[in-house]
C-alpha cells in the first residue's frame, strides 16, 4: 500500500515538473547602460597614457588638470581614509598597498582609517566622524554604494579636500575621482575576445558576482551588447556570489545539461580557477575563458597553455589615491575632476610577464607594489 502511494506521488510530481515551462535567461533592459560612456571608454582603451611608463599608478588617460594650490599645507600631514570594507582579496591587496605607500612617505605622520564593513550607513557615520574629529588634513573615500554615499561625500567636501576612488559618487564636489577606464571596457574586452575565438553558434556561459553593483553591472551590460551582435548562444547568466563552490557547481550543472560549453565569460577572476576545474573534473577540455590578474588564474593559464584573456581593474589605484593626496597637500596640480588610470589587458602574448610564482594565489599582478616597503612578505609572498 505505502509503496504504491509513494509511486503515485512520484508520478504526480513528474507530471507537474514536466509541465513547468523551461525557465529562460531573464532578458531585461539594464539600467546601467550608457552608450556615450561606453563609446568614451572604448576610445580611452586605444589612448596612450601620460605619465611615467614604469609607474602606471601615476599615469592618466586624456587628463584635464585641477589647480590645488589652495589646499597646500606644511607637512607632516594626517590623511584620513573611509574604506567601504575589506570583503574580498582585491580590497585586501589594495589596502595593503595603500598602507605601504603611506609608510613609504615620511611627510605623512598619521593615517587614520575607518572600515565601514560593507555597510552604507556605517560609512556615512564614519565620514561624519572623520570630518568632525578635526584631525584630517585630507579625506580619501572608497565608497560602498554610489547613491547612498553621495550626500555624505558632498558634505565632507565642504570642509576638507576629498579624493574618491574605485566606485564613484554622483557629485563633482571631490577634487578628483580616481578610477581605471571602467567596467564597460572591462566587460567588452572579454566579450570581444570570445566573439573572435568562437565559431558561429558557439555556446557561452556568463558568470557574474552579484547584481546591482555599478562597477560590475557595467561589465555585463557591455558584454551583453557585444554578444547580442554575434551569433553566439548565451546558454546562461548566473550569479556566483564570488564563491568558488557556487561557481563550480553552476558550471558542473551546465555541463551536465548542455554537454558542451565553448566559452565562459566572467565579470571577475576570483572564481575562474574553480570554473576551469569543473571542466577538468568532468573530463572536458578547458574552453576559452575570461579571467583577471589573480596569480592562480595566470599560473593555471600559463602552465596548461589555455586560451584566455584577463581584463584588469588594477589594484594600483589604491596607491594612486595616496599619491594624489600628497600632490594635493603639496599644492601640485593633479588630473581631475576625473583621473582615468590605464587598464592593461593580459593576453596569451603578454601573460608571461605577469607571472609571480612567489606570490599567493589571490594576489593581483597589477598591484603596483613591488617597490614598496615590506614587499613581498607584506602581501603574503615569499
Amino acid at each position: 500500500m505505502q509503496r504504491k502511494e509513494m509511486v503515485a506521488l512520484v508520478l504526480a510530481a513528474a507530471l507537474l515538473l514536466s509541465a513547468m515551462p523551461q525557465a529562460g535567461v531573464a532578458q531585461r533592459v539594464s539600467e546601467f547602460w550608457d552608450p556615450d560612456e561606453f563609446a568614451r571608454q572604448m576610445a580611452l582603451l586605444e589612448m596612450e597614457p601620460v605619465g611615467p611608463p614604469d609607474k602606471p599608478w601615476l599615469q592618466a588617460l586624456d587628463p584635464t588638470w585641477v589647480d590645488t594650490s589652495q589646499y597646500k599645507k606644511d607637512p607632516p600631514w594626517t590623511i584620513c581614509f573611509s574604506n567601504a570594507g575589506l570583503f574580498n582579496p582585491w580590497r585586501v591587496v589594495g589596502f595593503t598597498t595603500m598602507q605601504a605607500a603611506v609608510e613609504a612617505n615620511p611627510l605623512i605622520k598619521e593615517f587614520i582609517v575607518l572600515d565601514a564593513e560593507g555597510r552604507d550607513e556605517k560609512q556615512i557615520a564614519d565620514i561624519a566622524d572623520l570630518v568632525a574629529s578635526g584631525r584630517c588634513d585630507l579625506l580619501i573615500v572608497s565608497p560602498m554604494t554610489t547613491a547612498a554615499l553621495t550626500p555624505a561625500v558632498e558634505r565632507a567636501a565642504q570642509q576638507l579636500p576629498v579624493i574618491v576612488f574605485d566606485r564613484g559618487v554622483n557629485t563633482r564636489a571631490p577634487i578628483t575621482f580616481i578610477s581605471p577606464i571602467g567596467g564597460y571596457a572591462f566587460g567588452a574586452q572579454g566579450a570581444r575576445f570570445i566573439a573572435e575565438q568562437l565559431p558561429n553558434g558557439g555556446k557561452v556561459l556568463a558568470l557574474r558576482i552579484s547584481p546591482g553593483v555599478d562597477v560590475l553591472e557595467t561589465r555585463w551590460s557591455a558584454a551583453e551588447r557585444i554578444f547580442a551582435e554575434t551569433n553566439l548562444e548565451i546558454i546562461g547568466v548566473e550569479f556566483t556570489n564570488d564563491d568558488r563552490a557556487v561557481a563550480k557547481s553552476i558550471v558542473t550543472d551546465y555541463l551536465l545539461r548542455y554537454g558542451q560549453i565553448d566559452a565562459v565569460w566572467m565579470d571577475a577572476g576570483a572564481t575562474t580557477v574553480a570554473v576551469l576545474e569543473a571542466f577538468e573534473d568532468l573530463g572536458y577540455e578547458i574552453p576559452v575563458f575570461t579571467g583577471e590578474d589573480q596569480q592562480d588564474v595566470l599560473v593555471k593559464w600559463y602552465e596548461e597553455g589555455l586560451t584566455g584573456i584577463a581584463p584588469t581593474y588594477p589594484t594600483f589605484q589604491w596607491r594612486t589615491a595616496v599619491e594624489a593626496a600628497v600632490m594635493v597637500l603639496s599644492g601640485q596640480p593633479i588630473p581631475g575632476p576625473e583621473w582615468k588610470l590605464p587598464q592593461p589587458t593580459i593576453t596569451n602574448e603578454t601573460l608571461a610577464q605577469y607571472l609571480q610564482y612567489n606570490m599567493p594565489p589571490q594576489h593581483y599582478a597589477l598591484c603596483g607594489c613591488e617597490d614598496l616597503p615590506g614587499y613581498p612578505q607584506r602581501w603574503g609572498g615569499r
Binding site: Q2, R3, M6, V7, V10, A14, L17, S18, M20, Q22, A23, G85, L86, F87, N88, P89, R91, V92, E238, N241, D243, R244, A245, V246, A247, K248, S249, I250, T252, D253, L256, R257, G259, V273, A274, E277, D281, L282, G283, D296, P360, P361, Q362, G380
Partner: protein
C-alpha cells in the same frame, strides 16, 4: 532494523531512471560515480545528523563547522603541503570539541539543542570570518584537495572510483553498524522515543547524547574536507548544509522528534535530494527555485510521515 525496502529507495530509483532518460551519461559508471561524488558530503552529513535526530535533537551547527574546517585548514596549511596531515588532525579535534560542547550544554544546562546549535552556528561562522579577515586569502594544496576531487584509478570493473565515494562507503558502513548494531545505537533510539523512560531504565542520557553530537560534528569535519577538496577555499561553502542534512534524514524516514530513523534511509534521503536537484537542473529549473523547493520537501516529508503514523 530494516525489515522492508523503505519508500525512499523507490523514489530514489525512480528519479535516477528519469535522469538517465534525459541524460544517458548518468547511467554509465563514470556518470554515476560523478553523481555519488557530488552527493558524498551531503550523505555523510546526513548520516551524522541522524544520530542527533533519532535521539530527539537537532544539530544546526554543522554548516558553520564545515566553513570553519575549510577556512581554518587553508589558514593553517598556509600553502605548505607538509602541514596537511596535522591540520586535518587538528580539524577533527576541533570537531570533537564542538560536538562535546553542543552535547554537554544540551544535556546539563538543559538548553534545547535547537538553540545550542543555532548559537554554535553563529559563533563558528563568526570565528571563521574573523580568522580570515572576511576574505578567503589562503589556498588548499593538492594533497588536501585529493579527497574531495580526485579518483582512485585502476579499480577492477569500475576503472575509476572517486575517493569521496570510498569515504562515503566507509562512513555508511560504520554509521549503520553504530546505530543499528551497538548498545549505544539502541540507547539513542530509546532516548529519542521517550527520554523519561530511557533515563529510568538506566540509559546514561548525557553520555549517549554527547556522543551523538560528537558523531554529527565529526561527519561535518569529513564533509568539510571533501567540500574544500571539491571546490577550494570558499566562505559560503557550509551555508545551508544543515538544512540539507535534516531534510535528508527526514526524507529517509526519520521522525523529527526522535525515536525512529534508519541509517540507510538517511543516506538514501541525501542521495535522493542530490538526484532531485540534478533532475531539476536538467529540466531547466533555475537554482533559486531549486533551493526553494528544499523547504517544501521538508514540510512535505514531515507531513507524510505524520500522516502515515496516524493511519497505522
Amino acid at each position: 532494523m530494516v525489515r522492508r525496502v523503505p519508500p525512499i529507495f523507490v523514489v530514489l530509483l525512480a528519479i535516477c531512471v528519469w535522469i538517465s532518460l534525459l541524460n544517458p551519461r548518468f547511467a554509465t559508471v563514470p556518470g554515476f560515480m560523478s553523481f555519488l561524488m557530488r552527493a558524498a558530503p551531503a550523505a555523510i552529513l546526513a548520516a551524522g545528523q541522524l544520530f542527533v535526530i533519532v535521539a530527539g535533537g537537532f544539530d544546526l551547527s554543522v554548516g558553520s563547522l564545515i566553513t570553519l574546517v575549510v577556512l581554518g585548514s587553508s589558514m593553517l596549511i598556509d600553502g605548505d603541503p607538509a602541514n596537511t596531515a596535522w591540520v586535518i588532525a587538528v580539524m577533527f579535534l576541533i570537531g570533537i570539541a564542538v560536538g562535546v560542547f553542543n552535547g554537554a550544554v544540551t544535556s546539563w544546562l538543559k538548553v534545547p539543542s535547537f538553540i545550542t546549535t543555532l548559537g554554535m552556528l553563529v559563533t563558528l561562522k563568526g570565528f571563521a570570518l574573523l580568522w580570515t579577515g572576511g576574505a578567503p586569502r589562503g589556498f588548499l594544496p593538492n594533497n588536501f584537495r585529493v579527497f574531495g576531487r580526485n579518483r582512485l584509478t585502476g579499480v577492477p570493473l569500475l576503472d575509476e572510483v572517486p575517493y569521496a565515494v570510498i569515504i562515503l562507503l566507509v562512513v555508511a558502513v560504520v554509521a549503520t553498524y553504530l546505530l543499528h548494531r551497538t548498545g549505544w545505537g539502541k540507547q539513542l533510539i530509546a532516548l529519542g522515543d521517550n527520554p523519561r523512560a530511557a533515563r529510568l531504565s538506566g540509559v546514561p542520557t548525557a553520555k549517549v547524547r554527547i556522543l551523538a553530537f560528537v558523531a554529527s560534528a565529526t561527519s561535518a569535519v569529513i564533509a568539510g574536507i571533501l567540500l574544500g577538496g571539491f571546490s577550494g577555499v570558499s566562505t559560503n561553502v557550509g551555508d545551508g548544509q544543515e538544512l540539507g542534512a535534516i531534510s535528508a534524514a527526514v526524507l529517509g524516514g526519520a521522525k523529527l522528534l526522535g525515536g525512529r530513523g534508519t541509517m540507510p534511509g538517511a543516506i538514501a534521503g541525501a542521495l535522493t535530494l542530490q538526484a532531485l536537484f540534478t533532475l531539476l537542473n536538467l529540466l531547466g529549473w533555475p537554482k533559486p527555485l531549486r533551493d526553494g523547493l528544499q523547504g517544501v520537501i521538508i514540510i512535505g516529508a514531515v507531513a507524510y510521515t505524520a500522516w502515515r503514523e496516524r493511519r497505522s
